[in-house]
């Protein structure tokens, strides 16, 4: 998890290139704050300092919002002066990920109310997620409304590739972070506002570890394993394969040139997750793409049906 890779969440930006500078505020209550703001946009935007500071005190981080841009940059909360007296015990009994789960549940409600089918696409870097996504969009365009959230540490290249297809996309840059969290997705949704009964595809940061633990409110996770990786990836990174409902075994057009053992890879994955569905795909040759698109359409129809019923 992130405790192992040491990622942080202080530098997240959504769809933006920004120069940051530091400045200091003095509050009415005498608290002095130094924090970073992102500037350098060629458009106007408002900062509501009171709200932002209230959030900082509560330990939350909030991006500066502008059309096409969400900038994170506010650090975690600062503490208040400590008093001294007797110790006592306080029962907490709360999951560490409770906050993320609360945001995820808000996203999920929003999806359910509007019949939006959300998929969280996870894989290691270089598995061909974006190429697969572009191909999937080409096959689904005109059949149902589409929207994409792209997660990467840096650059908006992936979102640009998606926008080139004509589908709206928002790029989240996580900065030092190694995964998307539900709050970032919630804020991206404010901008993207996917239409009713649409398919939302969220391409997570390329990482087979941390994204497994962070629920984004999606209908399900789809893990993409390319055949240029080892067949023992499911055993090495079991959390991700356990969290996913479908595994796409991608780049299958390259199998003749590799010693990748397909049966073994699927066997390992099913050992971790007996309910995992598997489709062998190649975005390049188009193999398996019909089955994958049919899988999406069936699940999206079910989400729409449930939204109508409520």
């Amino acid at each position: 998890m992130c405790t192992t890779c040491g990622c942080g969440q202080g530098e997240t930006r959504i769809d933006g290139v920004a120069e940051e500078h530091e400045h200091t505020h003095v509050h009415a209550d005498g608290t002095v704050h130094t924090h970073r703001h992102s500037h350098g946009h060629d458009h106007e935007h408002a900062h509501q300092h009171d709200n932002e500071h209230a959030n900082e005190h509560a330990g939350a981080y909030r991006p500066v919002v502008a059309p096409g841009h969400l900038h994170y940059g506010h650090g975690p909360a600062h503490a208040h002066a400590a008093g001294m007296s007797q110790t006592r015990m306080v029962q907490i009994e709360q999951d560490i990920l409770a906050k993320n789960d609360a945001y995820a549940s808000a996203n999920r409600q929003r999806f359910a109310a509007r019949g939006i089918h959300a998929l969280n696409l996870v894989s290691s870097p270089g598995s061909g997620k974006t190429t697969l996504l572009v191909k999937t969009i080409a096959m689904l365009q005109g059949r149902l409304p589409l929207a994409v959230i792209e997660g990467d540490q840096q650059t908006s290249q992936d979102a640009e590739r998606i926008r080139a297809t004509g589908v709206p996309a928002v790029q989240i840059n996580t900065g030092k972070g190694c995964h998307l969290d539900a709050r970032m997705v919630g804020q991206a949704l404010e901008q993207l506002d996917p239409p009713q009964n649409s398919l939302l595809m969220i391409e997570n940061v390329g990482n087979l570890v941390c994204p497994a633990a962070f629920d984004l409110g999606e209908a399900c996770k789809v893990v993409i394993l390319s055949v240029t990786e080892g067949e023992d990836k499911p055993l090495k990174y079991p959390d991700m394969f356990r969290a996913a409902r479908l595994m796409l075994l991608n780049k299958c057009d390259l199998l003749p040139y590799l010693s990748f053992n397909v049966t073994q890879a699927i066997d390992y994955a099913k050992r971790i997750n007996p309910d995992l569905a598997v489709i062998q795909t190649s975005a390049t040759s188009g193999a398996g793409m019909d089955e994958w698109v049919a899988w999406i359409e069936t699940a999206a129809a079910e989400t729409r049906r449930r939204a109508c019923a409520e």
């Binding site: 405790t3 330990g59 006592r88 907490i92 999951d95 560490i96």
Partner: protein, 111 residues
Amino acid sequence: MSLAEGVLQLIEDAAQRENFARVKTIWLEIGRLSSVEPEALAFCFGAVTRGSIAEGARLEFVDVPGRGWCLQCETTVPLAEHYAECPRCGGYQVQVTGGTEMRVKELEVEE
């Protein structure tokens, strides 16, 4: 690091609710199958709590062993890893039922 920040947020929320100003000890329940490295979490926690109400607080890890339900044996069995086979029948049809916890259990605090 996100997890350490999550722990700190829970503590700060509790501080507002329960009115305390300093945390001395934190008990964290971390399951064997939770994919959390206690040592790494402790290291990150030290970094994120600097200057906070939890600065210098002692972290106590409560170990939760992995447990699973073997579909073939129809019984609860101990599990060392997610993908481990059932220690009774050797099958892989085991559903994890315990050991994935990541919880803040209890705090020792000062007013």
